[in-house]
């Protein structure tokens, strides 16, 4: 057994981990000619903190009883999660090369066939209710396990999320933490243009959540906030992580087109060089 993130752990820091999973993701999306690189890069620092500092999960025993649960609700941004799980040792890193290939378990929306993945998503608005169910059982078991759920901003258009957002504070689910990758861009435009979420934090607060707004690329701030779980106030926590879509690759940052495009050989080399510098 090799439980991650025990207090005694001395694992590589989140910054280095984030750099590595960004690079894996760029190579995977390039090789597969796949999409969704922008939303993968915006959440890379969040995953890096979760998998190097927070989640109590075991790469040698992915179904370990009493583990923390991580639910990726924005299932399209799966390449970077696969990369993070590979970095943690849930499977050999070489398997990332099969992403989206014929016969691979590494599908283009997150698949629970992959060791370390809790649930498959892809249709938006499904992750939060499932994470709530996991948090309810963990609380009943009293084993200290927590449920983390990563939402995109665009999927906050889905009514099913707001059903869950109403439910969790009513049931005082203090072992539930939602993280919103608030990169301000969704599938077909900016959040402000398509369906404005503002005032976003106030909405959560008025529903009864413990709301924390941070820079989603500040790994120290992420670690500080996510370490404070369960929340002290008998409320679920939402971390509104202000992020930049395409973060880390200058020509992809804040560009809607990188929700869809796959980098050419030249752009891949340029992106990897930027990450390495």
């Amino acid at each position: 057994m090799s439980l991650l993130n025990r207090p005694s752990d001395n694992r590589p820091g989140p910054k280095d981990f984030a750099r590595r999973i960004r690079a894996h993701t760029l190579r995977m999306v390039h090789a597969a000619k796949a999409s969704h690189i922008g939303g993968c890069l915006s959440m890379a620092d969040i995953l890096a903190v979760l998998y190097t500092r927070i989640l109590r999960v075991d790469p040698d025993d992915p179904q370990l009883a009493g583990r923390d649960r991580f639910v990726l609700s924005k299932g399209h941004a799966t390449a970077v999660l696969y990369a993070a799980l590979g970095e943690c040792g849930f499977f050999p890193l070489s398997e990332l090369d099969t992403y989206c290939r014929d016969g691979s378990i590494f599908t283009g929306h997150v698949s629970h066939a992959v060791p370390g993945v809790e649930v498959s998503t892809g249709s938006l608005g499904h992750g939060l209710p499932m994470a709530i169910g996991m948090a309810l059982v963990a609380r009943a078991a009293g084993n200290g396990s927590r449920a983390f759920c990563l939402l995109s901003d665009g999927e906050c258009d889905e009514g099913s999320n707001w059903e869950g957002i109403l439910f969790a504070p009513h049931h005082k689910l203090d072992n539930l933490c939602v993280i919103v990758d608030f990169n301000k861009i969704q599938s077909f435009g900016t959040v402000a243009e398509v369906l404005n979420l503002d005032p976003f934090a106030e909405k959560w607060r008025s529903f009864g959540w413990h709301v924390v707004e941070i820079d989603g690329h500040d790994v120290a701030a992420l670690e500080r906030v996510l370490s404070a779980m369960p929340a002290p106030s008998a409320r679920p926590t939402v971390v509104i992580a202000h992020t930049i879509k395409g973060k880390g690759v200058s020509f992809m940052e804040n560009k809607l087109e990188w929700h869809y495009r796959s980098p050419s050989d030249e752009l891949l080399a340029q992106a990897l060089a930027e990450l390495a510098s």
């Binding site: 649930v119 608005g125 499904h126 209710p129 499932m130 309810l136 059982v137 059903e163």
Partner: protein, 308 residues
Amino acid sequence: MRTTFIETLSQAASENPDIWLLCGDLGYTVLEPFAAKFPDRYLNVGVAEQNMAGIAAGIALSGKTVFIYSIGNFPTLRCLEQLRNDVCYHGADVKIVAVGAGYAYGSQGYTHHALEDVGIMSMLPGIEVFVPCDPNEVRAATRLVATSRKPAYLRLSRAGEPNLGSAEVTDLRKPRVLRQGQEIVILASGPIASRALQAADELAKRGRDVGVVSVSCLKPFDETLIRKLARDAALLVTIEEHILRGGLFSLVAAAIAGVAKQAHVAGIGVPEQAGKTSNAGSRDALLDAAGLSVPAIVATIEQFLSNL
């Protein structure tokens, strides 16, 4: 049926501490005994079926057996994608229990009539589908799904349905003979089987040899037995409180397609409501209006026989 369900579920829950029950703010005067006995395993999620289905999947994926309960179309069609992705794709141990099969909610109107649910739910991968005809079958079905460790749909009517066969239901996955007879075999799913029995009595008075079989398990479907009946009978008639598409008739027709010597198959069901408004009426009145009165069933079968 509702009472039998909750009594049986409460019994199962007292034997198995991993059984949970969620409802979508419905179940007044039905679910209270369970809620009182197992407050830590009962949740009224509120009027939010998508959330209920997703939460149920999350609970089940943490090792529990979860029942979700609401009226007809609400825990089924309203949250269909959650059932497809969150429950069935993950093989989560969730049981969907709908009350108000067919026209059971009578005058409440079309929104409360479950007429397409069986076909739609049967399409979901890996789910088992049960449409019990009487309280004895409800008891057997509830016991069965409580230990099956896989997704199931349980379609209940409401209250006061009579028992139609013996109390002993040995294997609910097999069709259950309610009335012996071989020349004409009426296959019925759900409480509409009581009308099938009455129609059979009337046809018997006219000299026909008529059997009635309750087919409560629509998935997995016992095609072997249906094929055997089709070899021995002159006419198979299906009766269901559901549209013909996707229900019992579709399953029977598919099961015997390609069987060399087979009976003719005739389907009796509810017409699609396409763009027509639904009138008020009791379940009985609505069934009569839909062509499912006992005399209409008898006449329809006579008509089929005259065409053989």
